[in-house]
Symmetry: C2
Subunit: 212 residues, 2 copies
C-alpha cells in the first residue's frame, strides 16, 4: 500500500516530527541527515520531502509543536483573573514553565535542541529571530504586570517596574540556559522553585505578617 488516508498521513507526519526530535537531539540539527530521520521514523526521505519543504521547515514544525502549548499554558497563569497579586501570577507562571520543562522529556529535548544543538546561520538565521521572540515578548508581558503590581502597592518600594521586569527576564533566561546546559544530577532542578520564590520575594513590598 502506498496511498494512505488523511489520518494515516497525519500520523506519518507526527512520526517524522517525533523522529526528527530524537535525531536532532542526538546528532544536531545541521549535522544529521534526513536519511537518519527517515529511518528513525520508519519511512523514506520521500515522505519527509512530501510533508516538509526541507530540514528548516521540519525543524520549525517540531518547535511549534512544543512552543505553542507551552506559551498558552504559561500565559494562562500569567493572566489568570483569579490571581489577586500580580507578583503571584509571575511566580506561578515561571514556576510552571520550569516544572513542565523538567517533567516532560519532549519539552526538555526540544529546548535543548534549540539552545545547544542548532546553528543559527544561513536559512536558520531567520529562525533564530522566531526562537528568540517569546523571550522578548515575555519581557513586555511581565513589565506590564510589574507595573500593575506597582500601582497596587505590591512592588517593593524603590524598585521601578521596568527595572524589575528586566531583572526577572534575565534571571529566567539564565535559569533556563543553566539548567539545560548542566549535566543532570547536579540537583539544580529541585532548587529551581526555591530560587524563583526567593527571586520574587525580593521584589515584594514589605507586608505586616498577620498575627494569629
Amino acid at each position: 500500500m502506498v496511498r494512505k488516508t488523511k489520518e494515516e498521513a497525519e500520523k506519518t507526519r507526527a512520526d517524522i516530527i517525533r523522529a526528527a526530535r530524537e535525531v536532532f537531539h542526538e546528532h544536531g540539527v545541521v549535522r544529521c541527515s534526513l536519511e537518519k530521520i527517515a529511518k528513525a521514523a520508519g519511512v523514506t526521505r520521500g515522505a519527509i520531502y512530501w510533508h516538509f519543504a526541507d530540514k528548516a521547515e521540519l525543524f520549525f514544525a517540531m518547535r511549534e509543536d512544543v512552543f505553542a502549548p507551552m506559551i498558552e499554558r504559561t500565559d494562562a497563569l500569567l493572566y489568570d483573573p483569579a490571581t489577586l497579586n500580580p507578583l503571584d501570577a509571575i511566580e506561578a507562571s515561571v514556576t510552571e514553565f520550569f516544572r513542565v520543562l523538567n517533567e516532560s522529556p519532549v519539552v526538555r529535548e526540544t529546548f535543548e535542541i534549540m539552545i545547544s544543538r542548532c546553528e543559527y546561520v544561513d536559512e536558520f538565521a531567520t529562525i533564530e529571530e522566531e526562537v528568540g521572540r517569546p523571550a522578548w515578548e515575555f519581557l513586555d508581558k511581565i513589565e506590564r504586570i510589574y507595573r500593575l503590581a506597582a500601582e497596587k502597592g505590591l512592588l517593593r518600594a524603590g524598585i521601578a517596574p521596568e527595572e524589575a521586569a528586566r531583572d526577572t527576564w534575565a534571571f529566567t533566561s539564565g535559569l533556563l540556559h543553566l539548567t539545560l546546559g548542566c549535566r543532570r544530577g547536579t540537583g539544580l532542578e529541585q532548587e529551581i522553585p526555591v530560587m524563583i520564590r526567593n527571586h520574587m520575594a525580593l521584589r515584594r513590598a514589605a507586608t505586616v505578617t498577620p498575627e494569629i
Copy 2:
C-alpha cells in the same frame, strides 16, 4: 617557498584561528568546511591539518584564545584586594565582562559562536562541558564572595549568600544570552551597566546615607 621560520608558522596558526572565527561566525561551526576557513586564511587545508588535528581542536583553540584572558581579567576585579566591599567586586567584575563583550568584536563573535552557532553533539559534546565550566565556577566564586559580604554585614538582611549567588548567577547568564541573541540596536547594551547596578543594589544592606 614552503618551509617557514617558527615565527612565520606562528603567524599562519594565528591567521587560521582568525579565519576560523570569521567563518564559524558566518556559517556555523558544523556547517562550514575547512576549505572555506583555509581560503579565508590564505592557506590550504594542508596547513590547517598540520596545526590542528581536526575542526574540533581548531574550535577549542579559537575559544581558548579569548576565554583565558577574559577570565583572568574578570577574576582580577573579583579578587582585587583594594576593593573593600565584596559586592563592589562582583559588580565591577560583571560590569567589566559585559563592557569587554560589547567593545571587542573578537570577544563578542567568539561568544556568539559558542552560544548560537555550534551544535554540541558527538565530538563537540565533550567541549560543551568545557564551555559551560566557567559558568559553574563563577557560581562558586560569587557564593564565597557573597558569604564574605554577609560576614561583613554588607548583604541585605534576610538574604542567604547561597541564594544571592544563584540569583546573580542566573541573572548574569541570562543577560549574556539575551544580549547576544538580540539583533543589535535594541539598545540593550547601553542598559546593561544600569541593570547590573540595580541588581546589586537590591542585595546591598541598607546604609545610612551620610548627610552633607
